[in-house]
Amino acid sequence: MHVQVGAWGLARNRAGAWGLASSAPVPRKAGLLLGGREDSGILSPTPVVGVEVGPGVGASVPCCLNVTAATLLLGAEGIEPVHNKKIFQDSVPGCRKSSTLCRCIDEIKQELKQDNIAVKANAVCKLTYLQMLGYDISWAAFNIIEVMSASKFTFKRIGYLAASQSFHEGTDVIMLTTNQIRKDLSSPSQYDTGVALTGLSCFVTPDLARDLANDIMTLMSHTKPYIRKKAVLIMYKVFLKYPESLRPAFPRLKEKLEDPDPGVQSAAVNVICELARRNPKNYLSLAPLFFKLMTSSTNNWVLIKIIKLFGALTPLEPRLGKKLIEPLTNLIHSTSAMSLLYECVNTVIAVLISLSSGMPNHSASIQLCVQKLRILIEDSDQNLKYLGLLAMSKILKTHPKSVQSHKDLILQCLDDKDESIRLRALDLLYGMVSKKNLMEIVKKLMTHVDKAEGTTYRDELLTKIIDICSQSNYQYITNFEWYISILVELTRLEGTRHGHLIAAQMLDVAIRVKAIRKFAVSQMSALLDSAHLLASSTQRNGICEVLYAAAWICGEFSEHLQEPHHTLEAMLRPKVTTLPGHIQAVYVQNVVKLYANILQQKEQAREAEGAQAATQLMVDRLPQFVQSADLEVQERASCILQLVKHIQKLQAKDVPVAEEVSALFAGELNPVAPKAQKKVPVPEGLDLDAWINEPLSDSESEDERPRAVFHEEEQRRPKHRPSEADEEELARRREARKQEQANNPFYIKSSPSPQKRYQDTPGVEHIPVVQIDLSVPLKVPGLPMSDQYVKLEEERRHRQKLEKDKRRKKRKEKEKKGKRRHSSLPTESDEDIAPAQQVDIVTEEMPENALPSDEDDKDPNDPYRALDIDLDKPLADSEKLPVQKHRNAETSKSPEKDVPVVEKKSKKPKKKEKKHKEKERDKEKREKEKKAEDLDFWLSTTPPPAPVPAPAPSTEELSVNAITTPKDECEDAKTEAQDEEGNAEGQDQDKKSPKHKKKKHKKEKEERTKGKKKSKKQPLGGEEAAGEPVQNGAPEEEPLPPESSYSLLAENSYVKMTCDIRGSLQEDSQVTVAIVLENRSNSILKGMELSVLDSLNARMARPQGSSVHDGVPVPFQLPPGVSNEAQYVFTIQSIVMAQKLKGTLSFIAKNDEGATHEKLDFRLHFSCSSYLTTTPCYSDAFAKLLESGDLSMSSVKVDGIRMSFQNLLAKICFHHHFSVVERVDSCASMYSRSIQGHHICLLVKKSLRGPVAGGRKDRLLDSLPAQELFGFWSLSPAASGRLGALR
């Protein structure tokens, strides 16, 4: 075998772009690639490598790795892969065709048996090559694993490569690799780890993902960025295979978005974009972070990904779009990278689409996009042209007007030599048609159909023509005769696959447009007449499908036929029997319809001979169908033949039969909507999932059950039997149905043109008699050319215009005389073009009470659905990545202690669990709302030019913050406990670089403090930090009451103020007050100012330089009905004093009538619990705290609490910022921390008569009397009433 390698190369041309060296001058000799060099080797005369490899060579060189593999493949290429399995199964003598390959395989098998790892690796390498050529190498899976576990990097790499190419989920030995991979992942050599990660990314299975998730997560904070980026990327694969890992790993992944190494950052962006693309709504909360990245990053790859991600997010959150427009426009103007420009334009388009309903004044952006796209389309680079058209088609959907102005350009693209570009241009045309230009465009397309050489492209053209014409229920067709003739013209295409499409259109138009039936029938009969032309190569092309439609139309609407007898003969020609079976069947059936019609006509005209002649024709010709091989045809034909014979007998006796025969086909056939069946509502009481008969149970012991079910059924039956609907009921239903139809997307909505009328209820008497415009000649001999319609149409329009002008003139004259009405400027719009015929398009029928919902059918097998996980929900203790455990787990105290609690929970009766779940859901909802509020805040603030509000610190950071500022030794214990937890919670700190981290955080903190002192408006980050522990700390098991933590502050007719006070963990002695202002009036609220009278104990943080008496402006305005949140920071001296601060909100309310100055007084109440922050605490740390003896103690007893213990705890957690440490039956330990770092432990006990609450607190809080501590309960609105009695 001789192999000659042709030249391939690439040369840089002078402009610096890469050109394709396709014109290689030495085609048969091998040239080398000469990338990036001026002395391009393509042109260099020195020839070069010519390799000749004989089949024997491969076999004769046994152990050299590369040569053997290569020669082997060169020898093997000639072998058809079809035989591969056989080759491997058979022994060497069995293969005759490919002795070379067999020898090689045999050799490989020998090599694999050897002990030398180098030889083995060599063999595996060869196998990898064979795999590429299509040979199954799964039999060597075990050997591959052997090579993978070699200690030398060279061999390991070969092994992993082979594994990544050939392993998949079905490979059974893959389980054996787990430990090897784990070992490699923790190898000191970064390349061992890298190779393992790369390999794993290709063959990860759910089991591997579960077992290795934790190891990989550790690698995400490896010191080497090379490993970090690989670990981050592979996490996506792990998530896919093991969705449970997503939540625990997500905080760290999020953190990697801000990794110092750009590669890691880009990998994290990559993964999150990929995740967000499938379930965008879960990632909306990351928008601020991505926004920051977008404005700061310079890496085009990252930018493109982020911009693409925003494109997916904007449809969910239109406000995000508003924020994006400006930076994106800037990028469009500034960037020189075409890829970035293109993606920007794409996302701007997505934004515009999402905004299109709300904000119409973005014409500048649209113009910019269209303009840039035009530049792309006009570019000589075909790629840019293609992409330009692609993006243009997206704009088209929402802003067709702006695209239509570029019609010239797009029509030009139809002539492009590149098929992809032509197809794109075709797509665009779809949206560009109007009543005015439809005929023109279709005419142009028809000429393309004639010119097109490839069948695929021609077929595409054909479908596009039909799509364009039939879109939105034939909205743009003014002349259906023209359309029918276009369809007839299309039937002349040879070799098209889309005969059925044309047929469907013919049927649809003929059935639904009553006015056209006569014309359609005449055309179809002509088509049937020339059927032999179509059927010339019947079996091969699909065009004969149109005969199906033609036959049906001629039969069904035979009353319109001019010469029914002629058509009957045409349909009974012997040639018909060569058509496909289903078409013949339709022929047979419709022949009878036609025959019935003829009979009727002849009998009415009293032409007995004519009728008998028709019968005779039938009797003569039908037998040819009886002999058909197709069952359907045969059955119908023989049945009908008997019928006709019977008629013949009757006719011979002069009995009139026409009435009875045509009665066979009486009645109208109405179109039915394609989804009608699906929409039939399930009758009340019918459970489709219920068993009709009890399924056979496995165990015989359950004899009793069927009886019980039967009993139950009997009870149910009378209840659910559909009541006999009387007339009234029916009328009511009909009304309801009409209502529904109005909302139903499948019902044809009323057309923009007033001439068209649609019927909701199809019925013969409702259909108005159609008047046909006399300007169109109805008798068109033979097959008409559609072109003539274009001409006719033009004439007609011209005439119409003239008439209209005349009328207008008259009117004008009248108006001049009367001067009553002011005339609008005469513009000729689409609406002015009256259709040639008055057309009544019959609606498709729908079942009664059709369900209006259009459930989109999601694929239940979509692997990405499993990743639809709420990521904002705080992590539960149970959500851990499985860690490989050793037997002696003496140190891990905290988790162990937690376990029994969890177990106890799970043992509870199911009912409770259910309830619990519901509550959980409530909580999730609430938290989502909260998260959304934060996002709201980000979205509502006016975008600052460059700096963006500091990103929300991740939950991880928070916990680190809490831990790294220990107050006493028990905190240290807690830190330890946390550390021992390892990665389990995804909240642990980075073990390898804690110092670095801490420093960073401290720095951040300092900065924040400074920032706060300077500005009165607290940065968002701080707010979130304060808010988050509330979500975080509440243990997952404890459900929270669904009410909001915001309490009413004050309200009047203009504005409603609600507020929430949150302690801030980072800042000692500070609380954040979040005030939500809701505009209830219909005027705009402006110039809002908040002035609060400070007390000695509590002061508001004000901007520098402003005095105590100045008001603090609210940083936003409120349009009617809008609410927004403003946040203020207060510094507190003593936390044992409850406070009430007086304040006033002053604002200007502006509406159409003018502006008024308004005021609203409020009282800000700081209760003691507002100074507490929810802090999670482990039971061992808690116990140490109690043992330390530093705490003072007091207790109270409360009677009259009627809520469940569970609810009580939840309320305490939610409103007073405690967290449950441990709960045993009716006794719970709770913990909280004040903003100044005091510990507060609370023991809540439920005695027989009612719960008893006991409090232990830090010495510093000693001064605080028990009443004060619990007094806040009465002040919190949710808990008041019931808990107030606690005192």
């Binding site: 390698v5 042709g6 030249a7 391939w8 190369g9 690439l10 394709l20 080398l32 690639l33 000469l34 990338g35 990036g36 393509i42 020195t46 010519g50 390799v51 000749e52 490899v53 060189v61 050299c64 790795l65 590369n66 040569v67 593999a69 290569a70 060169l74 290429e77 892969p81 591969n84 180098a118 795999q131 590429m132 050529l133 299509g134 199954d136 030398k152 990097f153 060279t154 790499r157 490569l161 790369t198 090379y226 990327l233 996506y236 694969k237 990559n270 993964v271 974009c273 790859w301 493109i304 075409m338 293109y342 790629n383 042209k385 293609y386 992409l387 030599k417 590149d418 992809s420 570009i421």
Partner: protein
């Protein structure tokens, strides 16, 4: 996501195939064949995108390819990848190959598929783009080669034998000698490290 990366020559012979979704060997070959048929009949000066989603998975897949003399580099990607970005990536890939192999040619790909795979693994991992900076890729590849060499030790002997055998098989050596500048040509041979 990148679904697959294929390299085949003008005759449709696969030179490298990397599928990021599991397919059976037969399906893989079929995909390669069909892709070749789609790509090979396109002119040189048409756009480099093909909507041929029939082959791999769903219809939002695109084929993005470049043709260099005798080789087609085809990336099958879904809608989350930027078309122009992938074109750039192919360019980076080829340039990297060129750097690592010193004037890469089809033969290099035949004799060193594993190396090409290793280079690719530094760029794309599990269907996601890992690195686009050519220098970074080359650095990592070089470092790995160095590691291989340092570990080789005794195992280097067979490698030397390999190069010896290989040199024997290559028929152009006499030609080069004829030209007379052996000192330049021999180091320029495909590297046998």
């Amino acid at each position: 996501m990148i679904k697959a990366i294929l390299i085949f020559n003008n005759h449709g012979k696969p030179r490298l195939s990397k599928f990021y979704q599991p397919y059976s060997e037969d399906t893989q070959q079929q995909i390669i064949r069909e892709t070749f048929h789609l790509v090979s009949k396109r002119d040189e000066n048409v756009c480099n995108f093909l909507e041929g989603g029939l082959l791999i998975g769903r219809s939002d897949n695109k084929l993005i390819y470049r043709h260099y003399a005798t080789l087609y580099f085809v990336f099958c990607v879904d809608s989350s990848e930027s078309e122009l970005g992938i074109l750039d990536l192919i360019q980076v890939f080829v340039e990297t190959l060129d750097k690592c192999f010193e004037n890469v040619c089809e033969l290099d790909l035949i004799f060193h598929v594993d190396k090409v795979h290793n280079i690719l693994a530094e760029m794309v991992m599990g269907g996601m783009v890992l690195e686009t900076n050519m220098n970074e890729i080359v650095t990592q590849i070089d470092a790995q080669n160095k590691l291989e060499k340092s570990q080789a030790g005794l195992a280097r002997a067979p490698a030397c034998a390999v190069s010896a055998v290989k040199n024997m098989n290559l028929p152009e050596i006499p030609r080069n000698i004829n030209i007379g500048d052996i000192s330049i040509k021999v180091p320029n041979l495909p590297s046998f490290k």
